[in-house]
Symmetry: C2
DNA sequence: TAGATTGTTAATCGATTAACAATC
DNA sequence: TAGATTGTTAATCGATTAACAATC
């Protein structure tokens, strides 16, 4: 599989392809053409073929794509079969939801446990995984070579904990804190879920609709 | 304020501007130039000026932008001062986190309450707001002309509840279910938070790093 | 074989960046 | 006034779309 200079737009479409293909597979579908996939996803067939061709040749002329094998290819590209490890920093409502209700998310990773500052939580479990003292976070990351930290703490301690994680050699932070984290000049990866930003986009669209209707 | 044919990229940058400006304001800063803002946000000054000029003229030659008034302008553009109403559908861990831990989110809206299917939850509260029977969801939306539904239920009932919401005339759905919702040919707005997609992008970056390092 | 559909090259479109006159 | 910085027009760059030869 090649992987040369892929644009961000393409990368962000890959999980959508994967999701769609798995849906189709679950429905018992076997093959699909870029034309039909485009119709179902609201993309042009050209774009779909261009996107896939960034990574290799996964189709067959006159036939299209085999859904199961294309799904595996995209999973391969996204690294879903690599055994990355993850920890949860801050098992509050949000963190608990991710571990317990979105099990399919952490199921793809080796989940090592959670870290909490509340004394009464330390030693208990979340989703069956142990909750450790957050004071031991840095040492744990160093010892276990943790790949991903899921950061679901309040905004105040976010940067401080980021410093601990980065110093301990974490490779990636999945950030839910609505704070722009500073990882210095390290190559630590940060992927943000900014709830407020997303909701504001929705509000923008509502305001836009209202203004358009008022103008008529 | 004009609002003509704004590209999606621009709209998605607006909440980031707002967040940055509010940070600067909290730090006591008064003015900023597109150059300095660009440095701090990793954008070009040109892009920043282009983005703002989509909506009007908010700066002053030789001076730059007044942080407080620019923030208000962007808030205006995003519709944050409009009194939109919201409900929560599914007050589980995730929904509770949104209402209780991310209070700043729903604070911008008139929050009317939550809807649960679990009998023992009905009549209780979440974040001080009432929890109603989900069987009454459609009627409630019709009666109260609800603008936004925050959908934090498991994937299985997601589409069915969407149908109820859309039929009742909901204007927008903030969707956390990792399901692609079908709103038919209505102009109901949908904004998705796809946790899995976001995490997969992070995994892609890790895999990419590994492959690059292995190639060396 | 004929029809369908890919992978890829070329054309188009849109978004970002650069340049600069206007002006505070 | 002189320096700084905007808003905007033009240039560049990149992403999407169209076209089509290759081929299953």
């Amino acid at each position: 599989m090649k992987r040369t200079n892929i644009s961000n737009n393409v990368i962000r479409r890959l999980p959508r392809y994967l999701r769609k293909l798995d849906d189709l597979h679950a429905k018992g579908e076997e093959r699909i053409s870029s034309g039909e996939l485009g119709r179902q996803m609201g993309l042009t067939p050209s774009q779909i073929r261009q996107d896939f061709s960034c990574f290799g040749e996964f189709g067959q002329q006159g036939y299209g794509y085999n859904i199961e094998s294309l799904s595996k290819e995209i999973g391969q590209i996204l690294g879903t079969y690599r055994d990355y490890s993850a920890i949860l920093v801050g098992p509050g409502h949000l963190g608990t939801a991710l571990v317990e209700n979105f099990k399919f998310i952490i199921d793809g990773y080796t989940f090592l446990g959670a870290f909490d500052i509340r004394p009464e939580m330390i030693g208990t479990t979340v989703g069956g995984y142990p909750i450790y003292d957050i004071a031991t976070l840095g040492d744990f990351v160093k010892e276990h070579k943790v790949d991903i930290a899921i950061l679901t703490v309040p905004r105040e301690p976010a940067q401080e904990l980021t410093d601990v994680l980065v110093d301990a050699g974490i490779r990636a932070i999945w950030n839910f804190t609505n704070v722009e984290l500073d990882v210095g000049d390290t190559d630590t990866l940060v992927e943000n879920i900014h709830f407020a930003d997303s909701l504001l986009v929705l509000t923008y669209r509502l305001a836009e609709q209202d203004d358009l209707r008022a103008a008529k």
